[in-house]
């Protein structure tokens, strides 16, 4: 389709504000008389709380109040369940245990909040928090996933029979039968450990209670302002219209900012009302490591069965997922994993049971990728082992198994995070694989360059990893599009923005319909006083779900514009065109009327509005997809390793991505770059090290190795576009894509580089030390 605005490399509307420091973040919100909160957090991962003595802290000069669970009285209750288990799957076990605002009986992870100090400054609040005396009775900690599920394990929740939080079995075809037919059967244990999301901006909340107006305003770094508003209203005994939640500019979300409710998120507004003073809490980096959700911890026992030609006959993957101390987010992560273990491959037989374990770690909720990288790691590693056993090329074994273009919509059959059997809507997977191979020069590298470099003594390796990403799930989002008398257009939507470029990509969608400069479209996201229907930014759904709602509203407004302009200009609608903020008669461009004039005419000061019509050039519309759109991509890279120091250097990195219609390649590539950097972190740098007491040993950026500019390779991105048939724009999500295949790719590349060594990478993240241990295993 010929498009004027969509698909163009438009520079971002929001960047001038962001780059000159004029964008408002939560910590920029200031009020006279504002108080500051600091939390006392448990130093134990698992301990009974015997006594909390806050008397000294209360007396500390500058302290206004100190609260413990007891002080909250009848306002103390656990957070609401966020996501329930899928009702459509039989025999699912699910025990819901939710986080509490302040610990009452026992602490279940290091960093859980025991008390909150409210003082005139954050400095004073922290000084006073040090004065709180807590008597703990330390308990044996639960960390190891297998041991957690053993009958004799200490329990995270005393009222449950075990640490089993959930269990779910899904299958397709008949794995056991397929296995009997197989030429090659490979079984392995694969261990994936936790990482942090580590957004640049930590969490933060400012709450202001207007006692006379009886109105609460909350600035929150949340990805889901509307559910937060609704939940706060319910909890605080207010009506929804008495609460306004603003999610202003946010320095990165990546998933953890949609955990609802964080203890702090419930407490700070409660305290503001109680004290009738504005209260601010800004999470510091150390708290972020102890109090913000994390992800990835899983242990897989996987078996793959193939025929002699490398065709996958079936996969069986049983795994344990670490949900941490509570499970408010339901089964989203392990279900995503289950749905991605088959990758983009046509596999007829599949069997997978997962168990979810409570442990004494911070809660696990989705982090960019959300279970998908684990699934892709599992299948891709197994394919690498199979290729080795069959003496087959890495690209070839993948090509042979990919779902073919004519097979869409493809019945994947496994129930996904949206609670329905997954259907892959569209795509041309082999074309994307070939694009990545071509971009990286796979043939030439494998046949010519690699042998030459190896002769020179260089350990260079190549890898290629395809993946799917389920995106853009329901239920729905909405948007309101208004043409103002200034001729500019205002758009409001309910989702929050954490850097995704919504202010530009949504503006492009509007511009396409209304024919106006992208910079003349003002987008508001994440302010419940502007728009209060919707769920939030997650599951790579902003561009798909909110984007299509914006599109729908814009189309309706376009209709209104044409109708009115036809009257004004005395020409049939079919002869009108919208361009540069004007409606023109196509053949007589000098006969035109501006959008601003039309907006004024649509909202007259005198006269009667015709019955059945609405004033203004405005529309509110919603979009809810039938089911989620699934994107596909393939990453490839070339690495060089130093087998003595175990250092890995990335020489080239290419990405071929098909996420349907591209709204803005610039923004899309930014998403991919960011995703790849997180993926590289998960591969080689970012690991949360817990000691045997459940203490996090690297709770700072000195020891938690975030991928920085010096580790990032230059990334070459190629686009293919198979529009999704599930929405008018044809978009699929891409927010998480970049992160998904990287660990699988990294492992494959390192194995390929060290081709003459006998070792298997079956864990993530790797590290130089980990690699050293793998390579020196048999000599021990």
């Amino acid at each position: 389709m010929d498009r004027k605005y969509i698909g163009k490399r438009v520079v971002r509307n929001e960047d001038p504000r962001l780059l000159t420091g004029q964008a408002q973040f939560v910590d920029d919100v200031q009020f006279p008389g504002m108080l500051h909160a600091a939390f006392l957090r448990s130093e134990y991962a698992h301990a009974r709380v015997l006594k909390v003595d806050v008397s000294k802290a209360r007396e500390y000069p500058g302290v206004v109040a100190v609260f413990t669970a007891e002080d909250m009285g009848r306002d103390w209750f656990p957070g609401p369940p966020l996501v329930s288990p899928p009702p459509t799957v039989k025999d699912v076990i699910f025990h819901s245990r939710r986080q509490v605002p302040l610990v009452k009986d026992k602490v279940r992870h290091a960093g859980e909040a025991v008390a909150v100090v409210i003082a005139e400054s954050r400095y004073i609040a922290e000084d006073a928090a040090e004065q709180i005396e807590v008597e703990y009775e330390p308990l044996e900690v639960v960390l190891d996933l297998e041991k957690a599920l053993a009958a004799d394990s200490p329990r995270v929740h005393d009222d449950l029979e075990s640490n089993l939080a959930a269990q779910l079995f899904q299958k397709k075809g008949d794995y056991e039968a397929a296995r009997k037919e197989a030429e090659v059967v490979i079984k392995r244990r694969i261990v994936i450990e936790r990482g942090a999301a580590a957004a640049m901006e930590n969490r933060g909340i400012v709450a202001q209670w207007d006692a006379k107006g009886r109105h609460l305003t909350v600035w929150d770094t949340t990805q889901a302002p509307i559910p937060i508003r609704n939940g706060l209203a319910a909890r605080l005994g207010l009506s929804e219209s008495q609460v306004r939640v603003i999610a202003p500019f946010i320095g990165g979300g990546f998933g953890p900012k949609i955990m609802m409710f964080y203890p702090e998120e419930m407490l700070i507004p409660w305290v503001a009302m109680k004290l009738n003073r504005p209260v601010k809490w800004i999470e510091d980096r150390r708290e972020n490591f102890y109090a913000t959700t994390q992800e990835r911890g899983q242990v897989h026992d996987v078996e793959i069965a193939l025929d002699r030609d490398g065709r996958i006959l079936g996969i069986k993957d049983d795994f344990i997922h670490d949900t941490g101390a509570y499970d408010p987010y339901g089964l989203t992560i392990p279900i995503n994993t289950q749905c991605h273990v088959m990758g983009g491959y046509d596999i007829k037989n599949f069997s997978s049971e997962f168990r979810v374990a409570f442990t004494n770690r911070i809660i696990a909720t989705p982090v960019r990728g959300a279970g998908r990288p684990q699934g892709i790691f599992v299948i891709e590693r197994m394919l690498d082992l199979a290729a080795r056993e069959l003496g087959m090329d890495a690209a070839e074994i993948r090509r042979r198994n990919l779902i073919q273009p004519h097979a869409f919509p493809y019945q994947h059959e496994i129930v996904d995070q949206a609670f329905a059997p997954l259907v892959l809507d569209s795509g041309n997977y082999p074309a994307v694989l070939d694009k990545a191979l071509e971009m990286i020069g796979y043939e030439k590298f494998v046949k010519e360059e690699q042998p030459r470099l190896r002769k020179e003594g260089k350990y260079v390796g190549i890898a290629v990893a395809p993946f799917i990403e389920t995106t853009g799930i329901g239920p729905y989002e909405g948007a309101r599009v208004t043409v103002e008398t200034s001729g500019r257009v205002n758009v409001a939507t309910g989702i929050g923005t954490q850097g995704q470029g919504h202010f530009t990509s949504f503006a492009q969608v509007v511009a396409e319909q209304i024919g106006i400069k992208v910079s003349d479209v003002r987008v508001t996201t994440g302010d419940t006083s502007e728009f209060h229907w919707g769920t939030g930014t997650f599951a790579s759904r902003g561009a798909v779900v909110a984007g299509n709602a914006v599109h729908a509203a814009s189309s309706i407004v376009r209709g209104k514009i044409l109708k009115l302009a036809s009257k004004v200009l005395g020409a049939p609608e079919a002869e009108l065109e919208l361009e540069d903020g004007q409606v023109r008669i196509a053949d007589i461009p000098q006969k035109s009327v501006s959008l601003g004039e039309l907006a004024a005419l649509a909202n007259p000061l005198r006269g009667a509005v015709e019955p059945g019509t609405e004033p203004g050039l405005e529309s509110t519309a919603y979009f809810g997809p039938q089911y989620g759109a699934t994107a596909f991509g393939t990453h490839a890279m070339i690495v060089e390793t130093d087998p003595e120091t175990m250092m890995v250097k990335i020489r080239r990195y290419v990405v071929a991505e098909d996420c349907g219609t591209v709204l803005n390649p610039l923004i899309l590539e930014g998403q991919i770059h960011g995703g790849v950097s997180m993926g590289l972190g998960n591969s080689y740098y970012e690991k949360l090290h817990y000691d045997e007491n459940g203490q996090l040993l690297n709770a700072s950026f000195a020891d938690y190795l975030l991928v920085s500019s010096t580790e990032m390779p230059r990334i070459e991105v190629g686009h293919l576009e198979t529009p999704s048939p599930l929405n008018e724009l044809g978009t699929k999500g891409v927010g998480e894509a970049g992160a998904i295949p990287v660990p699988a790719l990294f492992a494959q590349a390192v194995q390929n580089a060290l081709h003459d060594r006998d070792f298997e990478i079956l864990e993530m993240p790797l590290s130089p030390n980990g690699l050293f241990e793998l390579l020196n295993k048999e000599t021990e």
Partner: protein, 293 residues
């Protein structure tokens, strides 16, 4: 992550600073670039009740060559001043080269030469390099001044010969003899991280091309800069063959360091790295000494 309360002084002269230190003793800490001290205060790992800021004192930042080929570097000289100094490159090429391995530019514009030495982090470059180069330091206090060699200055983890009322004023790096060569080899998780393992080698050849002198000092290898004196001694008088270098590296890594396990690497892995890096460092240093490279 806010520091505990403290009093802050910003004296304009060395005498005032020294008087404050004498008055407050162990309660006080000097503040130079703040790149190590401030994070530790924010984590409340240290809680000095008095901070004496040295940044307003004139004359502490300088890079001064001596007539004998030595180089003096003032305590408050920022890492990036050394990094961009042609004089430093000429007189102390090893130190100059090492600057790019210290953190990243933002830290290097604040962090100081003296701060790094006084902090005495065994993973830091400058303590190891000053040891390898036979450097010495001028320490001043209200009681007078004294020179202390790098070998004697570094006592153990974050512990030096500095008394609580003393400040490090400057470092002196002597000239290297003719036919000298140097190398610094490191493995770090990310280029700007403290190294998992690092080693500096400084060697000199005699006229016959045999090893006249060698200094091998490791960083991240023990509680202070770890000098491999026996391995270095064994090289003396020998021709620097691949065999001799290999033997020196192996024995240094096996016997003369004491690396610890931590989350980034086990002692075993660090020893392995020490061996590899020491071999590479000696090879490069001898090549440089012989005028190759």
């Amino acid at each position: 992550m806010k520091p505990a309360p403290f009093e802050y002084y910003a004296p304009a002269t060395m005498d005032e600073a020294l008087a404050l230190l004498a008055e407050h003793g162990y309660e006080a800490k000097a503040l130079a670039g703040g790149q190590s001290l401030i994070p530790m205060m924010n984590f409340r790992l240290v809680q000095p009740s008095v901070l004496v800021d040295l940044n307003n004192i004139g004359g502490l930042a300088h890079i001064t060559p001596g007539a004998d080929g030595s180089l003096r570097i003032g305590a408050l000289t920022r890492h990036n001043q050394v990094e961009t100094s042609a004089v430093a490159e000429q007189y102390a090429p090893l130190i100059h080269f090492a600057m790019q391995k210290i953190a990243y530019p933002a830290v290097r514009t604040r962090g100081t030469f003296g701060g790094s030495l006084a902090h005495a982090d065994p993973s830091a470059e400058l303590p190891a390099l000053c040891t390898a180069l036979n450097g010495r330091f001028r320490l001043v206090s209200g009681r007078g001044e004294r020179w202390v060699s790098a070998d004697e200055f570094f006592i153990s983890l974050f512990t030096t010969a500095l008394e609580p009322d003393e400040l490090l004023a400057e470092a002196e790096i002597p000239a290297m003899p003719p036919r000298s060569g140097w190398s610094l080899m490191e493995t770090a998780r990310r280029p700007h991280d403290f190294a998992l393992m690092g080693v500096a080698a400084v060697v000199a050849l005699d006229e016959q091309g045999r090893c006249a002198d060698a200094r091998i000092v490791f960083l991240s290898a023990g509680e202070k800069p770890m000098s491999a004196q026996k391995a270095a001694e064994a090289l003396r008088g020998q021709s620097p063959s691949a065999e001799a270098i290999r033997a020196a590296a192996e024995s240094a890594a096996a016997n003369e360091i004491d690396p610890a396990d931590d989350i980034h690497g086990t002692a075993k892995f660090r020893r392995h790295l020490a061996n590899v890096l020491c071999r590479r460092a000696l090879e490069q240093a001898f090549q440089r000494a012989a005028g190759k490279k």
